[in-house]
Symmetry: C2
Subunit: 355 residues, 2 copies
């Protein structure tokens, strides 16, 4: 499946114009690539740093095909791109990572089934389609547990905790009838994530695992190295590699794992660059964004060794200038025009010499 | 002279659309700024990464003023911006670094006079306006020496060596009648450069001095740290600081110095980010480009401490993919459409742990 590398000056199409698309475009520019962003919303923040922008919906086949015809390779910055949009353009330009990763990651049930079939540990889970199947699922999995919509969940949205059986009715109601998955609670010591990449030639590299802390369902900090045993870090990287190979993946993936007494349990993966990998911009020679661009362009994967330890903190309406004035700290601002409470406006990374 | 910091989302106007403008724009994007490039040439490589481009000549006052009215601050990526262009827009938006740095750096004679007046050592020099004044200058300075045009020289262009007196006529002829400066040869151990920045509040920071090797008049490599004594490195930084303060400068400057037995001799300075500072992208948390953007936007200057040692090599038609495949190496490609012999197409930086 190896393919010829795209030369510098090639065009990359990016589906989605948020901060991940923006940082992908900045990395692509370092390699001399030109980017074209496709985004339905007005004034996406990725538009400020690319040569070309198409504003159109994901069901606008004519716009999608014109976009695809203008580029040499297509990627996406978020996992909820409609599959029909991919199917409308895949005959024109290669879409990397492929359709299969997208299809699997868009559906919590398919994702869990895939992970199990790949021989990886997940939380116990069961499909919930109505109040009756929720009762069945609770009988099997018990409480505490967590109900999540099968599709379109992110940053803790579309989730309801069931601490005890009487919470079940309210939890199901909050799903608004959407097909869901009940997951058993995992008693974990910490959550880590592995950002890994697979190249067009099947080679796999991974960044050092980071330890994640969430606040209100949104990633707050990622600390690298994670406070885990070396063997656990090694296992985590191997798990990411198994997922990449099983999906015949090209590009960067973010894999979230729980560290438990019984070993690692896969929470979920995102078929894209990942918030918990932003620390790589300041602590690694080649960051997750450039690694993704290298992979989808058929370039050799870069040296992602960590030269410094890192603590990445998301900035949600925080004092950007204050963070910029701190020793050892780099800020990355997304250029979103309208700050809203809880909206990710940027992040700050504190680096320190490797411990 | 302190001024209020520009918030993220502000507009930066960049005069010049080459690779320095491109890398300034990429750094500005990290801080959430939007860029508008002004460039007379078609398809400048900085245009691929900015929100807006004006293609117009530097004597097009209407275009210049419209450009200035669209931005919050103006900077330049090369020192040969006509002063008349600056004068046409300075009442609309602040131009940083200021007019004085530009005026001084554009004229070798004014630059040398300024350096002497600031108490800094330079090569012996004399103004040459015709064959007779060249004879006088040679009588004073002797040979070997080097004749350079007063204006518009870069990368070794507009220069002629005079190894012995009989070379004088040919050297003067090669200047095509342009007013020139004769400089005495300096017997130097090595050439170093200091990339330093001065903020809107007058604070000064500097990156570690790098050691430069040229090939055919063009910078070939910069190695950091330079193989010089700690006291020499300290002296070099202090000299850069004196120049910045004397010019009441805001932004990044590149100062080239010769290391001689008698101490440091200033060769020249560039009132802008500098090729010999490209290593900072991969070896420092905050690089020269971001430091310049922070300075002209009134932000606090960042932490430019070196986390890794570096060797930066310019790529002139070299094998970019080969460089990208080397361990510890990052490549930066400028996206110029037409490679030509001797044209800078990108650079590669090899980083190693601090020695």
């Amino acid at each position: 499946m190896a393919f010829e590398p795209l030369p510098s000056g090639s065009r990359i199409g990016i589906l989605g114009g948020g901060q991940l698309g923006r940082m992908l475009a900045l990395a692509a520019a370092r390699l001399g690539m030109r980017c074209h962003v496709y985004e339905p919303a007005a004034d996406p923040c990725a538009a400020h740093v690319v040569e070309r922008v198409t504003r159109a919906e994901y069901d606008d086949v004519a716009a999608l095909r014109a976009f695809a015809n203008s580029v040499d390779v297509i990627t996406y910055e978020f996992e909820n791109v409609p599959l029909a949009a991919i199917d409308a353009i895949a005959d024109i330009a290669p879409v990397r990572p492929g359709r299969r990763a997208l299809e699997t990651a868009q559906d919590r049930l398919a994702e869990k089934d895939f992970l199990r079939a790949t021989g990886l540990a997940t939380a116990p889970y069961a499909l919930v389609e109505d109040a009756a199947t929720l009762d069945d699922a609770l009988a099997e999995i018990g409480a505490p547990s967590i109900l999540k919509t099968r599709r379109l969940g992110y940053d803790g949205k579309g989730q309801a905790r069931i601490m005890a059986l009487p919470d079940a009715a309210a939890a199901w109601k909050s799903m608004s009838g959407a097909p869901s998955v009940l997951e058993g609670f995992i008693d974990f010591k910490c959550e880590i994530s592995v950002i890994a990449a697979r190249g067009g030639d099947g080679s796999v590299v991974a960044f050092d695992p980071g330890e994640n802390v969430h606040m209100d369902g949104i990633l707050h900090t990622t600390t690298v190295p994670a406070a885990i045993k070396a063997s656990t870090a090694q296992d985590a990287v191997l798990i990411a590699g198994r997922i990449l190979n099983a999906l015949d993946y090209v590009g960067v993936i973010g894999v979230e794992l729980f560290v438990t007494r019984g070993g690692l349990v896969v929470n979920e993966f995102a078929p894209r660059v990942h918030n918990s990998g932003h620390w790589t911009q300041d602590s690694c020679l080649i960051d997750q964004f450039e690694q993704h661009v290298r992979a989808i362009c058929g370039w050799p994967l870069g040296d992602g060794a960590r030269h410094s330890d890192a603590v990445m903190t998301n900035l949600l309406g925080d004092d950007i200038l204050g963070a910029a004035d701190m020793r050892g700290t780099a800020v990355h601002v997304y250029g979103k025009p309208d700050p809203r409470p809880g909206r990710k406006m940027g992040h700050a990374t504190l680096i320190t010499p490797r411990g």
